[in-house]
């Protein structure tokens, strides 16, 4: 493990830096909205930033994979098709992202790499500086300690902050993080601050109710030992709203579509999609390999928890952010924590 530089930076000073950085690039930070919710939004002034927030429902993955993302415009009117690429992404700083979402970014990095390296994603990703915030305030739906999603991380961020009152403990995770720290007034952090941080993290750990013991569910799913009746029941309960996948920091599926302005011209774009929709897998013939909701629910948990995927991705497809608990229309029945519990308690076939 690399040795991480640790510094102490005053809060007001870092906020001032963010404000001046916002003149050069987009700085996105948690901002309180008129309805009382906190949302990650571009800021122009440090006064807009709030540090009093739990997970925003609409996850910051949208700054790496926008819900709606233009790819190019086309004109098929001439002798040869003319394509004009959408304006390239510009540099951005994501300030205050929680550890679970940073772990989600790592999952996205994996998905958008490999055999089909996604240029657009990486253009955006490479120009993004992630200043994460170690979590002191878990929501009552949080279970990151079950999924290696937090409350603080040892890597994956450019800069990780821990709120020590007047000061931030700043841990440098990359050269991008170092570049920000270098422009700030700072002091070296010592064992005292490290112990303070450990105590805060311990307290945060203890606030969480670890309801999502993944291990048994992973074993049951991997070995096809989940009772089919449980999938069937969950399929009937499910509203197929797609909310769980929309808010999941590990879900990356998208659809590519054209908006035709005229017969010959238009815009090609991509947008978020969901494996919980019947239309997601329906084939041109009309055949649908996952026509029923139970098959789609099953698919979601196979992707997140079966060993084959965990091995390929290096971790389960869940970071314990708990958002699926909030957005599920079948309240408390089909979110990650509930399904893991149901598999553990009621859904395992007894070995003969």
């Amino acid at each position: 493990m690399p040795i991480i530089e640790k510094w102490l930076i005053s809060k007001t000073h870092l906020f001032e830096r963010l404000e001046s950085l916002s003149r050069e690039q987009t700085v996105i930070a948690p901002v309180r909205q008129s309805d009382g919710e906190v949302s990650f939004q571009p800021i122009r002034s440090a006064d807009e930033i709030t540090l009093e927030y739990v997970n925003e429902l609409h996850p910051p993955k949208r700054f790496l994979q926008p819900v709606f993302e233009p790819l190019f415009t086309f004109n098929l009117g001439g002798a040869r098709p003319q394509l004009t690429a959408a304006p390239p992404p510009s540099p951005q700083i994501l300030f205050g992202v929680r550890s679970c979402d940073v772990q989600g970014f790592r999952h996205m990095d994996g998905f958008f790499s490999g055999a089909f390296k996604d240029d657009l994603y990486w253009q955006r990703r490479n120009q993004t500086t992630v200043i994460s915030m170690a979590c002191l305030q878990p929501a009552d739906t949080c279970f990151c300690i079950c999924c290696n999603g937090g409350p603080y991380l040892s890597d994956g961020f450019d800069l990780q902050l821990t709120d020590l009152g007047e000061l931030f403990l700043a841990e440098v995770g990359s050269s991008k993080g170092a570049a920000i720290v270098q422009t700030c007034d700072r002091q070296s952090a010592g064992d005292k601050e490290e112990r303070h941080r450990q105590a805060l993290m311990q307290a945060c750990d203890e606030k969480m109710i670890p309801t999502a013991y993944l291990a048994k569910a992973v074993i049951a799913i991997t070995n096809q030992r989940v009772d089919e009746k449980l999938w069937e029941e969950m399929g009937l309960e499910c509203f197929s709203c797609g909310g769980c996948t929309h808010v999941c920091p590990c879900c990356t599926c998208f659809e590519v579509l054209d908006h035709r302005e005229t017969e010959k011209t238009g815009l090609r774009f991509r947008c978020w999609d969901s494996c919980q929709y019947a239309g997601f897998t329906r084939e041109a013939s009309g055949h649908n390999p996952r026509a029923q909701s139970k098959e789609r629910v099953k698919r979601r948990f196979y992707h997140k928890l079966s060993f084959a995927y965990i091995q390929a991705d290096g971790h389960p497809g869940c970071v314990g952010c708990g958002r699926c608990i909030t957005v599920c229309q079948a309240f408390g029945l089909l979110d990650m924590a509930a399904v893991v519990k149901r598999i553990r308690r009621e859904g395992q076939m007894v070995a003969e």
């Binding site: 949302s39 808010v247 908006h259 957005v327 229309q329």
Partner: protein
């Protein structure tokens, strides 16, 4: 930028946040602090931003010249529309004009359109798609309860000891309401379902009985009879004289025989309902669009009165409203027999009030309803002003529209109805205007302008004002929300709200005057002959209703790529027994024939429908499925029925 607003689809009225970047709505997501959505949305809500920027949105007024639409300026289009309407008015009189509003327009806009119809066009012919779903609710509840609206709120489903669902599929039709009910069922509340079709959530409910379509009235009367004969009525519920004798004819055995269920099932469901301390009754199109819909609403009212399930927490009737502001159509009097504030036109003191404030004379009798306007198009009705309603799809009205002398259509898209128009006025979507909408539990909420109007499109209120002033009125050109004040004067219950209270997440519920459960019973009515009974040639009973996604005419859904993809075609549900006899499988091409028409499509073999019955989701844009139904309608409320006899063949 995040803009809080209200979902434009069903009647639940979920709180939405629209995410806006550079004047484009990029995403929609749920509002956590909202009392209905509680951080959740259904598939429609999550994708409600998609149609807003669809490239086929209308961005300029269009005038048809020699059969071809030509782009026009607003002043040309408004002048053209005004002249066309005026010409018809001069030649045939105001009664030859009709106005059809949208159940998605805001309260302010529907109020303005009602005022425009009554005072500017001076016609009695005004209506909305409310007619096609909720007219029995208005006619059935208003005289007895004082309101054509729900008496229960969704949160009452949390405290109700029993929930009776009749002729509705809440999970599919109003997902968040279905979510409240699923939670209640999982908590152990008695959820009781009367519906001929099985539903996804049926197995989680306490009991379901599956009567044949068109026999619900007998079941509900048998429930009343069972309550009385077992003495389950509440002490406060004094019976009217002669009631017992009247109900004696409606035994559980009689209902059971007609409906194909057992008398024991009816009795046990009745006991679960009547002996619960509190109960909410949820009902939908399966009541209102089938035979005896009004009589069924009366029977449900009686069930609520006799069990004392009114005016308390955890009690009341909760009729499903199919659109985000169908309740607003009722509240604002956007119907021929209504005035704003839940008064019938025949209520002379209300009529005098409105003729004074609108400075016009009001007719003594209602004019034409929506189905009557369509039927009389080209004869006694010569011109129509249609705001945001695709009549070609909802009423299979394309041939009727072609018979009109003049047609003005105001919409977001060039629908089949707009294509038949002489002039098309481009309207704004919910994301481009201010206003209020009222959900199915009377919750008045604010929708907010998130982006500038697309192209030259304008909010409905502004267009109606332009047209009114071109026709000689002098309405102030003010923004939509400032009409809220005038609207409040017209509607006593809205008068107790203010813009601030409706602007919070969840808005404010318009209050009702409670009566302490001392309510009169509605009449007990005998079933009538539905008029289109199965016989040897047409042996099946075909019902039609909305799919999970395709509600109303599908204009918004079909311009939302994710939603359009989800249910690309209608399926005909066939029971396995009937399918076996016909050698038909899921996916087989089948043909339905009825006395009125023919439809070809795919079969879905499922036990969700009873043997001998078929169910088709209605959402084809040309109204081909609807043409199967012909012209059967309830004579009192004029609601077209969605049941008929049919024959099934392999195509």
């Amino acid at each position: 930028m995040n803009v809080p607003t209200v979902c434009p689809f069903c009647g639940c009225g979920c709180g939405l946040i629209l995410e806006v970047e550079q004047n484009r709505v990029c995403a929609a997501f749920p509002q956590r602090s909202h009392p209905v959505s509680r951080g959740t949305l259904c598939i429609k809500g999550w994708n409600s931003h998609e149609f807003i920027h669809h490239p086929q949105r209308l961005t300029h007024p269009l005038i048809k010249k020699n059969g071809v639409f030509k782009q026009a300026s607003w002043s040309q289009a408004i002048a053209f529309a005004a002249q066309g309407l005026q010409r018809v008015q001069e030649r045939y009189g105001a009664h030859a004009l009709g106005v059809v509003g949208s159940v998605k327009s805001t309260n302010e806009e529907q109020y303005l359109l009602a005022r425009f119809s009554r005072s500017v066009l001076q016609t009695a012919n005004l209506d909305t798609a409310m007619r096609l779903h909720a007219s029995p609710t208005v006619r059935g509840l208003l005289p007895h309860w004082g309101y054509g609206a729900a008496g229960a709120a969704m949160t009452d489903l949390e405290s109700a000891k029993a929930i009776l669902i009749v002729g509705a599929n809440p999970k599919a039709q109003s997902a968040n309401l279905g979510s409240f009910i699923l939670q209640a069922a999982k908590r152990g509340s008695r959820v009781l379902l009367i519906d001929s079709r099985e539903q996804d959530h049926s197995r989680f409910y306490g009991q379901q009985i599956r009567p044949r379509p068109n026999t619900y009235l007998l079941i509900l009367q048998a429930m009343l009879q069972t309550i009385i004969s077992n003495g389950w009525q509440r002490p406060a519920a004094a019976l009217s004289s002669g009631w017992k004798e009247k109900l004696a004819a409606y035994s559980a055995e009689r209902a059971a025989a007609a409906a194909g269920v057992t008398a024991q099932e009816i009795r046990s469901l009745t006991e679960s309902f009547a002996t619960a301390e509190t109960a909410v009754i949820v009902y939908g199109d399966g009541i209102t669009q089938h035979a005896d819909g009004l009589a069924c609403v009366h029977a449900l009212w009686n069930l609520a009165v006799i069990t004392g399930n009114l005016d308390k927490a955890g009690c009341g009737l909760l009729p499903l409203m199919n659109s985000n502001n169908m309740q607003g159509s009722i509240d604002m009097g956007m119907a021929t027999e209504l005035l704003p504030g839940h008064a019938f036109l025949t209520d002379r003191s209300a009529a005098d009030h409105f003729s004074r404030i609108w400075n016009c004379s009001l007719p003594e009798e209602p004019g034409k309803t929506l189905p009557e306007m369509v039927r009389q198009a080209g004869t006694s009705l010569r011109a129509l002003y249609v705001v945001g309603e695709n009549l070609a799809a909802s009423m299979a009205a394309a041939p009727a529209l072609a018979r009109l002398d003049f047609l003005v259509v105001q919409d977001l898209f060039l629908t089949e109805t707009a294509q038949a128009a002489h002039v098309v006025l481009p309207a704004c979507s919910f994301a481009e205007k201010e206003g209020t909408v009222t959900n199915l539990e009377r919750r008045v909420q604010r929708i907010r302008k998130a982006i500038a109007p697309l192209g030259e499109s304008k909010p409905d209120a502004e267009i109606i004002t332009l047209l009114a002033n071109k026709l000689g009125s002098a309405w102030p050109d003010r923004d939509a929300l400032s009409w809220f004040g005038e609207m409040q004067n017209a509607h006593p219950a809205y008068g107790q709200l203010d813009v601030e209270s409706v602007s919070h997440p969840g808005g404010a519920v318009w209050p009702v005057v409670r009566n302490g459960s001392r309510y009169a019973y509605a009449p007990i009515e005998a079933p009538t002959a539905p008029g289109d009974e199965p016989d040897a040639e047409f042996p099946f009973l075909l019902t039609m209703g909305p799919g999970r996604l395709h509600r109303m005419t599908g204009t918004l859904i079909q311009h939302s790529f994710t939603l359009e993809r989800e249910e690309p075609f209608g399926l005909l549900e066939v029971n396995p027994e009937d399918a076996k006899a016909l050698k038909c499988r899921s996916g087989s091409a089948v043909r339905i024939k009825t006395r009125q028409g023919e439809w070809v499509g795919q079969a879905a073999v499922t036990r969700a429908v009873l043997a001998g019955t078929l169910h088709l989701s209605v959402f084809d844009r040309e109204g081909k499925a609807l043409a199967l139904l012909g012209t059967l309608m309830d004579p009192r409320t004029k609601i077209p029925l969605k049941v008929c006899a049919a024959r099934l063949e392999m195509a």
